[in-house]
Amino acid sequence: MTPFTYARPADPAAAIRASADASQARYLGGGTNLVDLMRERVERPKTLLDVTRFSHAIEARADGGLMIGAAATNTAVAADRTVRERFPLLSRAILAGASGQIRNMATMAGNILQRTRCTYFYDEASRCNKREPGTGCDAIDGINRIHAILGASPSCVATHPSDMCVALAALDAIVHVEGPDGARSIPLVELHRLPGGHPDIDTVLRPHELITAVELPALPFARRAAYRKVRDRASYAFALVSVAAMLDVDGGRVRDVRIALGGVAHKPWRAFAAEAALRGQPATEASFAEAAAAELAEAAGLRDNAFKIELARRVIVATLYDLAGDAA
């Protein structure tokens, strides 16, 4: 680990000032990913600004929405009664990830900003455009069983590893940030980037911007939700494919639906095409299959990961089918 200085600013404004003043500063949440990456020398910040004492409040809104402080731990959010009542999808997705110990430490914002598990990204001896821009990508023709089938580029085929973010994408979460130029809010589905020619840049956050809260707008049918994660062992493994879904069925037809996928792309993947294909259609397996096909039309496999296309199709259909069954 490269030596660094550690500081604990008093409030977000002080943290943002400190970040702007320091060179190569990073905000530190639970450290469950950043500190690992520092040990691996993938991340070499010179300053760590501990933001874990900022807001961890989970505030229920009268309109049915929710505001979650960026420092709330994953465990606290998953266990929160209001979260479980209004947005059970979020609780389930969080509990599908990592381990109890890690969830106890990991924060809301830290989870959102965790970096890919691409093994070439982690290995200093390998070429990686995300770790060292312009060096190339050893994953594209290498061992790429866990890599992206959607939205990849010739520069990068990495995936975003978060479970929680798949739920947030489906829930239309809004990420509140503060920065040197003031506060703004960004829909979660627009926060993470596709790799394009700059896979080194994971998100649209500007320099020194700090995530302060995550807002979940009210969603009346959010209680009919499922998170299905497929992985190589029963627990403590990243998703090969995961599906977050919420379904609103009326008279046998899909009135509304939210679907997001994990483990398939450089970002938590909101399945807009599948949703559009489903609205107004009969809540049948055939409709679900058509929706899945629409979403995966552009999917492309590499040497080891082509199975994910079929796997994603099956899990989308099965998850929606189960939800429709619940509705009937």
């Binding site: 680990m1 093994t119 390998s126 061992i143 069983r145 062992r233 090969l240 199975f307 099956r314």
Partner: protein
């Protein structure tokens, strides 16, 4: 010459005059073989309280004055040479004490390969940090010492290396183009031909001929490899994490050109060995750096360091072909294949061993080859060979049973041999079918549908599979045991063996107490220190019987010495050692127990503080005379998702035939642990080595999957407990057999659930979509 070959030579010597071991024909049977008292009792591990309280001190925890902390730099190419290495920035970094590379390392002899000499521990015979040559991606090329571990870890990253790469063989598929036949496989011939198996296969009424693939797997004991060491002049002390203290000590002495008695190795607790805790580069370079720098060194490999510098179970491709008559009797058994190895080690992965003795096929063909690769030296990993050999063989048996519409257990019953089909030797004790019968009844095997895919609950297909487990009986030659009796009636039993969590110290204390006629709390079992009499290594599931044989030999010598000391004034006067047995803290005449005297009385009358006897066991001739193996029947029930291909093991039962079980509690844990490791082998363990670079890409427990709690169902274990009349205490080793057969039992259950044969491990969900 291997240790086993040496043992064979000793057989000749014995035939011309030495007294045979008591468990050979003609010997007096060991009275303890059938005695139920402490032996067999479910005694809790003596080291348990120390471990749960954190008071058991492991190699990485030993304090030393002026300690430095080591970090390794690993090569990032697979073959070539170091053209330039710049350590200046590292040397200037805070806290750095010393940086050692091939340019400034002291001259060292290469390690002597394990099995090539009685006390050799080397896992590779490459010179260690002596030249610029690179032999595998991950080879340690520099070691750095600093005042703290953090300083060392950072500073080592500042070393800059320029390589000249050479063409390397890093792709197993490509390496198969040029293979060779190994000289021997652990002393056994690499090939066996009995009749014309290929011809018989062609003629057979039923045939199975399939190729099975198993990946490289890495050692992942909870305790990272570690050594804390210091020099005092030419004397070297190492607190090591090892399963072979005597062997590491001897080999380090050869490497550093000092006498064996100038090296002391201590390893009282080892947090898991499984074959991986032997002698690797890290101990050698740590000792070398300590010698040059004059500072004590703590070397703890990172998890990545273990992946890069410690070998594991090697890659194989195996062919199993079976031919059978319409009554199910095998006419042809062919097991051939190739294992990846290197030119600098000798670990050919004995995957054909099970096929040499399991079935009474008329014609048998066995042949193993080696594909040399530029990889870290592969090594022994829990049931090397048998674990993956049984995967291929026992899947093939299941395929044949399916093709013939015979129950898989019945097919095995019809091919149960009367004697060893390749060596022709009698079996010492073989109760495999009894293990099957008991296991089948308890598991509910009769509820299995022979039709694949017949059982389904929701999206989950449910299937059952079975496979034979087997592991050879080994008893290591060499090593000795000392028993000291003190005037206050205690016994101290000493030999430099190992406790890696198996229960060694507990079981041997049980044994020694029973043999000496003392309560367990009066017996201290000392081990894990080269200051004690030489011990055998903890390998090949051999340690328990090796130590037991040593205790028996030392006890014989002790009885003779005690009778001599007792003299003519004792009730025992005139009795020979054979005529007395231990009883109630002393010796008694076997035929007339009223003639007895306590140890305390004998010592007091002689005015002695203690009496001591040390002896080595007779060579392991029983394994030459008999075909000696442990057996088991592994029963598995799986659930496979029709949607995702996810496999969940829902029930497992292992029914074992391993001779006499010496401690029901530690044995159950050993069996269960082996089965759990087998579930990992079956379903998830795989080293991802990039075929282009030879670099291991998943050197972490996040990406290299082993089973977590949720992957492990309740595991039922039972055993026959039938003593082997030809082994010490009637026991055979149990540390490794648990993993054997598990891969096949799972694969066969998956087939029964889904109708899909997966012949390539691990059985990941993509193979079932």
């Amino acid at each position: 010459m291997t240790s086993i070959q040496e043992a064979a030579q000793t057989l000749l010597k014995t035939a011309i005059g030495m007294v045979p071991a008591r468990w050979l024909p003609g010997g007096t049977p060991d009275p303890l073989m059938h005695k139920h008292g402490l032996i067999g009792a479910p005694v809790s591990r003596l080291d348990g309280p120390l471990k749960v309280q954190g008071r058991a001190r492991f190699a990485a925890e030993v304090p030393m004055e002026g300690l430095t902390y080591a970090a390794l730099l690993h090569s990032s190419i697979a073959r070539g040479r170091i053209a330039a290495i710049d350590t200046s920035a590292a040397e200037a970094a805070p806290g750095v004490v010393f940086v050692m590379t091939h340019r400034n390392a002291p001259r060292l002899s290469p390690p002597v390969l394990m099995n090539s000499k009685p006390k050799a521990a080397g896992t590779s015979n490459l010179p260690v940090m002596q030249d610029a040559e690179i032999h595998w991606n991950g080879q340690p090329i520099a070691v750095l010492l600093a005042d703290t571990q953090e300083q060392a870890d950072h500073a080592v990253s500042l070393i800059r290396v320029r390589y000249e790469s050479a063409t390397a063989i890093t792709d197993f598929e490509a390496s198969k183009g040029t293979t060779r036949v190994p000289r021997d496989i652990l002393g056994e011939p690499p090939s066996v031909e009995k009749g014309d198996a290929e011809g018989a296969l062609k003629q057979a009424a039923f045939q199975v001929d399939a190729t099975y693939r198993t990946p490289f797997q890495n050692h992942n004991a909870i305790e990272l490899h570690a050594a804390t060491l210091a020099w005092d002049g030419d004397n070297l002390t190492i607190h090591d994490a090892t399963q072979m203290v005597t062997h590491v000590g001897w080999t380090m002495a050869q490497i550093f050109g000092i006498r064996e008695d100038q090296v002391r190795i201590m390893s009282p607790y080892v947090g898991g060995g499984f074959g991986g805790k032997s002698l690797w580069d890290h101990q050698i370079v740590a000792a070398a750096a300590s010698r040059v720098s004059g500072r004590p060194v703590r070397m703890v490999l990172s998890r990545e360091g273990v992946f890069r510098s410690v070998g594991g179970r090697t890659t194989t491709e195996q062919r199993v072909a079976l031919g059978a008559r319409s009554d199910g009797k095998l006419t042809a058994l062919i097991h051939t294949g190739t294992a990846a190895m290197t030119t600098h080690n000798d670990c050919p992965e004995q995957f054909t061993f099970p096929a040499r003795h399991l079935y009474s096929a008329d014609d048998i063909r066995i042949a193993q080859r080696i594909a040399d690769m530029n990889i870290v030296a592969n090594t022994f990993m829990r049931a090397p060979g048998e674990s993956i050999g049984t995967f291929a063989l026992e899947c093939a048996m299941d395929e044949l049973a399916e093709a013939m519409n015979i129950d898989p257990i019945e097919l095995r019953r019809r091919n149960e041999p009367a004697k060893d089909p390749t060596s022709g030797n009698e079996f010492s004790s073989r109760n495999l079918m009894e293990a099957y019968t008991r296991g089948a009844e308890r598991f509910g095997w009769d509820k299995r549908s022979a039709t694949p895919g017949a059982r389904q609950e929701g999206e989950w297909h449910i299937g059952m599979g079975v496979a034979t487990a087997t592991y050879p009986y080994y008893r290591m030659p060499g090593g000795s045991v000392r028993i000291r009796l003190t005037a206050d009636g205690r016994a101290i039993v000493s030999t430099a063996v190992h406790e890696m969590g198996m229960g060694t110290a507990t079981v041997q204390a049980q044994h020694a107490a029973e043999r000496l006629g003392l309560p367990m709390d009066q017996v201290l079992f000392e081990y894990g220190d080269t200051a004690l009499p030489d011990g055998s290594m903890a390998g090949g599931s051999s340690q328990t019987v090796s130590v037991a044989a040593g205790i028996i030999a030392a006890h014989d010598a002790l009885k003779t010495a005690l009778l001599k000391l007792a003299g003519n004034d004792s009730p025992l006067a005139g009795l020979k050692a054979d005529a007395v047995e231990a009883r109630d803290g002393g010796l008694a005449c076997r035929k007339d127990p009223s003639k007895q005297e306590s140890y305390v009385s004998i010592l007091r009358r002689a005015g002695r503080e203690e009496i001591s006897a040390e002896a080595s066991a007779a060579p392991p001739l029983e394994a030459q005379k008999f075909s000696m193996h442990s057996y088991g029947a592994q029963f598995c029930e799986v659930r496979v998702s029709a949607i995702t291909g996810e496999v969940r093991v829902s029930r497992f039962l292992g029914s074992f035939d391993c001779g006499r079980i010496l401690n029901a509690k530690t044995a159950a844990s050993q069996f269960r642990g082996g089965i759990i490791m087998g579930l990992g082998l079956a379903l998830m363990e795989e080293t991802q080595r990039d075929p282009r670079s030879g670099r291991i890409m998943n050197p972490s427990l996040a990406e290299y999957h082993v089973p977590v709690h949720m992957d492990v169902p309740e595991i039922d274990v039972i055993w026959t407990d039938i003593p082997d009349p030809h082994s010490p205490l009637g026991a055979r080793g149990i540390g490794e057999i648990g993993i054997t057969g598990v891969g096949a039992a799972v694969a066969n259950a998956v087939y029964n659930a889904t109708g899909k044969r997966v012949r390539s491990l691990p059985i990941t969900l993509d193979k079932l979509l």
